[in-house]
Amino acid sequence: MIKTVGLRKSFGHNEVLHGIDATINPHEVVVVVGPSGSGKSTFLRCLNLLEKPTAGEIYFDGQLITAPGVNVNEIRREMGMVFQSFNLFPHLTVLDNIALAPKIVRHVSKDEAEETARDLLRKVGIADKESAYPQELSGGQQQRVAIARALAMKPMAMLFDEPTSALDPEMIGEVLDVMKALAVEGMTMVVVSHEMGFAREVADRVLFMDAGLIVEEGPPAQVLGDPKNPRTKAFLGKVL
């Protein structure tokens, strides 16, 4: 579904990704772990071209999306993204947050967009909040709205950048539960997360990144339980 070949990204003279080769298969859940500053967010943001790669190729659904002339807006609508800081639209109600993009990007009718939005709100467990504004919700509820907002575009894949890092501990579970349900339904997911429990339970594969490279990858039991690379060992020794 997503494939990167020799993906590099520099900010000015500072190269942050040094050639990433990664494949994410359809219906696969891939969890990306690694120390702070290793380039996890940059990697994820390159996938939907929120950051423009400096070199290398990205294929999405068979298409080379780093080719010149590709309409990035058409690519992005097929990849939902969930941010650490939620980034809900504060001037819109919960319902409008979710229904806006389908209406103006996919030209779905207002009624249909709102009906889909309500279905999604039920799915993430906050059907009663549709007319609230984001700042009236708890962090966990906001993040669930953000997931619903991304799903409303009916994307082929979902990218999560530390979706629970900004949450109070008691709210982490409710967001992870929504993500687990998505995984069970077969959504293709790339998740940057420090939640090792989630990785063990839900991930099909774990990528360990360090200093701009993928240094180890494999099933969670292997990468997290019996790491080969000394840097993976050192990192896991710290977080566990």
Partner: protein, 222 residues
């Protein structure tokens, strides 16, 4: 010579007519300024180099030159170019509107830049184009933040509009001058003129802080 405020009732109708003209000028100018300023403000934060540079030159030129000179350029200068006179009212709202546009552009730019980058990223990640993101996400949020500075701009225009009295437009200050030629009471008349300006700016500043509170109350400003 003793002060004589007994002339006030007699001069009020003329001064109030002038005040009406002053308000009209300020409202129309700031309205023109808002349209120009929104477009120029957006141009200043756009990706397009050429647009950015042109918008920047406009803003710098207007803010770096006196409004009175701009007014003279339009009223006295332009007619020699186009070969016919520019009516005073048209000259006034053109010069003031174009002037206001530069200040509003800076207000709009600051408003847009005050919106968190995450808003743009979230919108773009949903597939919105950059202009859809501006229209549906950034501008509506920025607009709430620019209402107070826009109110201040309106107050500034209300005061600066007194400059048009030099091109014989019958605004509040000009009416005052006319009344003085009749009453020979400059101190009393200018005092009343000043007080009328004060009342107008005071009312507007109260309206601005009321709208600010109102927007905070619905929780859509942080």
């Amino acid at each position: 010579m003793a002060l004589d405020f007994s002339i006030i009732p007699g001069i009020m109708p003329a001064l109030l007519a002038g005040a009406k003209m002053t308000i009209e000028l300020a409202v129309i100018s700031v309205a023109i300024g808002f349209v120009i300023g929104s477009l120029v403000g957006i141009a200043r934060v756009s990706q397009n180099r050429a647009l950015k540079v042109i918008a920047g030159i406009y803003v710098d030129f207007i803010r770096g030159t006196p409004l009175l000179v701009q007014l003279f350029l339009v009223y006295f200068g332009l007619p020699t170019l186009i070969g016919r006179p520019v009516p005073p009212f048209i000259a006034a709202i053109s010069a003031m509107g174009i002037n206001s546009g530069a200040y509003v552009a800076e207000i709009v730019r600051a408003g847009i830049q005050s919106i968190d980058r995450g808003q743009t990223e979230a919108a773009r990640s949903l597939g919105l184009t950059s202009s859809q993101t501006m229209q549906y996400i950034i501008f509506p949020q920025a607009f709430r933040r620019i209402i107070p500075p826009l109110g201040n701009e309106f107050i500034a225009m209300l005061k600066d509009s007194s400059l048009v009295s030099v091109i014989a437009l019958e605004d509040l200050l000009r009416k005052g001058q006319v009344v003085i030629t009749r009453t020979f009471r400059p101190f009393e008349v200018y005092t009343v003129v000043a007080l009328i300006y004060l009342v107008m700016t005071f009312v507007i500043s109260k309206l601005v802080s009321w709208s600010e509170r109102k927007l905070k109350a619905v929780g859509q400003i942080d």
